[in-house]
Symmetry: C2
Subunit: 202 residues, 2 copies
DNA sequence: CGAACCATGTAACTAGTTACATGATTCG
DNA sequence: CGAATCATGTAACTAGTTACATGGTTCG
């Protein structure tokens, strides 16, 4: 897996401690990178050191011991070989998508609208951060990063546009037509109602 | 985790076997749902049955034994309680984003363009499938599903638009400005070149 | 009649999280 | 002076994949 490569990538920006890496991911995890816990960062850093991809620059700064990790020549090489191979297709795990697909007319659609509104807020927050990012006066953003961030921006904006559209069609009950060749919508409602009735009788 | 809930969700459409569930996810995994292997489906189904959320309808069809699973009243209840709680913010793991953010001028940008082109092709394929989906003459698509699928469509279209833009700016070397307050771009290239030089001398 | 598909399942492994332990420093 | 932050680390657990074993059926 490429968690190791992600660590090498972060270390390529500048030598960092395990703690730094975690913080770096904390705010960037915003729909772009993925998070990592200490429980996987520290053991992985040690493993990468044992294998000769990184080495430690022990530091005693204000009495605070810290282990800065830096890439070895072998580490640079490994990182760049990874950069050259074609990236895997992204994995998206979106519960909202799953829940919406499973929704039916016996459920209160205002709940679903609530989910959408909450998502809109979260997405808006991240979008705000992403828009500031390349000119926030603190972060390092290379021109390539800036291009990648632009992608995040476009994606988030598209999401907000869709959410607004979705809330609107749910409120006006103007949902798109689906495809129901076997009368599944009815079958589902029947199966559900029967199961619930059984439950009540019990 | 909500893998269990995802299984309940799929079973709510119609009673299915473990094999059916896997196939269902195979083609829908297209950037919308997430995949699952037999190694996690079968043990999970058994667990759900033990806990009383689903039950088996044993079938002997053409000498082929199969175990159809169906939701119990408790299963319907559990599913719907899950539908009502606010969905977690989606997790996206996109290596392309990571690789682009780590790119620098000592690497051949035509490789990165290659990555983008490949991604464009894959996304285009999925988009083709997604567009057909609600009217392909086979799939069951409720009106709520149709709305969710519309989201996938918008997202994929936005991605393609961005890829074209990105390829263009890379080819014309017209990348957006970043933010480099500490001369990091230079520092990175210096660290890298030094490491590579060390390696050659060895 | 063999390849592809339908169908179920497990053992060994890989990956990762959660929660805790520890201890120093900084800041309101 | 206590809370927040900096900093490292581990043990127990949860989740999930890969690869294999098994055996029947359908279709070219």
């Amino acid at each position: 897996m490429s968690v190791e490569h992600t660590l090498l990538a972060v270390l390529s920006y500048w030598p960092s401690t395990g703690y730094d890496i975690k913080s770096e991911f904390e705010h960037k995890a915003a729909s772009l990178y993925w998070g990592m816990s200490y429980g996987s960062i520290y053991p992985k850093l040690r493993k990468l050191e044992e294998e000769g991809f990184i080495f430690t620059l022990d530091q005693e700064e204000d009495g605070r011991r810290k282990k800065l990790y830096e890439l070895t020549p072998k580490g640079w090489e490994e990182l760049e070989n990874w950069l050259l191979i074609s990236p895997a297709y992204p994995v998206v795990k979106d519960e909202l998508f799953m829940k919406m697909s499973t929704w039916h007319d016996d459920l209160d659609s205002t709940i679903l609208i609530g989910h959408l509104r909450k998502r809109r807020g979260e997405t808006e927050d991240i979008l705000g951060f992403v828009k500031e990012w390349p000119s926030n006066g603190i972060s390092f953003v290379s021109k390539f990063s800036a291009l990648a961030i632009r992608f995040a921006e476009i994606r988030l904006e598209a999401e907000i546009k869709w959410i607004d559209e979705a809330i609107h069609v749910l409120q006006t009950n103007d949902l798109p037509e689906g495809q129901d060749l076997n009368g599944n919508v009815d079958k589902i409602l029947t199966r559900r109602r029967k199961a619930i009735k059984e439950n009540k009788e019990k």
